[in-house]
């Protein structure tokens, strides 16, 4: 039963992954990617990693919902109504990907993998929790810092006009230098008088 589920889900996952780059519609590509992630999470669940498998599924569902919005915003061909070519260097890319797959698959098959150590009876989720709060706490601390840096730099990159654009380098320019005067800051001087 597990073997059937593994076979179906892994083949489906790779097929959905290939679909991502074959459909013309960007919305369809995003949902194909979501299908690939969910199907790839099933083998993880089969290994008994309930927490990580569910985490992958939940995170990917949210991420793809956000992604589909960005896809529709930025893609040349959001709805796929107009057939167009969106790849460059297709031949070389295909060859490189195929070679990498063959090398990795052969390596995975012929390598004499060591056989598993003693399986502990503890719940893997609990073991993971104790691990990241103990021996691997440094990893989690760095992850936290990286995520924080990502939040700050993503906002800095994505914002159109920050406060230094509006209030000058020393933040003292009043009213703010906005292209269109308005809002609470700009109107006071001269506009509406009671």
């Amino acid at each position: 039963m597990d073997a059937i589920a593994f076979g179906v889900c892994s083949v489906g996952s790779i097929a959905a992954g290939i679909t991502v780059f074959r459909v013309a519609s960007m919305a369809r590509a995003t949902f194909a990617l979501l299908a690939s992630f969910v199907l790839a999470a099933v083998p993880i669940l089969l290994l008994g990693l309930t927490y990580l498998g569910v985490l992958v599924i939940l995170m990917m569902v949210m991420e793809m919902m956000i992604m589909v919005v960005f896809m529709l915003m930025y893609m040349m061909n959001p709805a796929g109504l107009m057939p167009m070519k969106m790849v460059h260097n297709n031949r070389v890319s295909t060859i490189v990907a195929a070679v990498v797959f063959v090398v990795l698959a052969v390596g995975a098959t012929v390598t004499p993998w060591p056989h598993g150590g003693r399986r502990s009876n503890a719940d893997p989720t609990k073991a993971l929790g104790l691990d990241v709060m103990g021996p691997h706490m440094l990893v989690m601390v760095i992850i936290g810092l990286v995520l924080f840096a990502t939040m700050v730099s993503a906002i800095v990159l994505a914002s159109a006009r920050g406060r230094y654009d509006r209030y000058g380098d020393d933040l003292r320019v009043r009213p703010p230098q906005d292209p269109v005067q308005g809002g609470l800051g700009g109107r006071r001087r001269g506009g509406l008088q009671r």
Partner: protein, 101 residues
């Protein structure tokens, strides 16, 4: 179920992602390729935990790190796309080759 089947699945996901990130023109599609490749890493790490080191949760920590890499990659990717789209109306990598050596 054996380890090599899981690793072949991971290799397949990685290779499909690699094809995507080498061949796609749109920045967002390249990010999708990177996500697929990282997902291969996640599957491989989970399999290594189960089949090789079931006694210690180190491989599970690798899964957490890979998921964080995915989230960071997506956040920064969309920020960069937004910035370059706003500045130059560019949504394809072919138009953003300023740093090409």
């Amino acid at each position: 179920m054996i380890l090599s089947l899981y690793l072949i699945l991971a290799a397949g996901l990685f290779a499909v992602g690699l094809y995507g990130l080498l061949s796609q023109q749109s920045i967002v599609m390249i990010m999708m390729g990177i996500e697929l490749a990282i997902n291969g890493v996640i599957v491989a790490a989970a399999a290594v935990w189960y089949f090789i080191v079931p006694g210690s949760p180190d491989a599970q920590t690798v899964v957490l790190v890979a998921m964080t890499a995915m989230a960071v990659e997506m956040g920064m990717g969309f920020a960069v796309t937004t910035a370059i789209f706003r500045a130059r109306d560019v949504d394809m990598v072919d138009s953003a080759s300023d740093l090409k050596g």
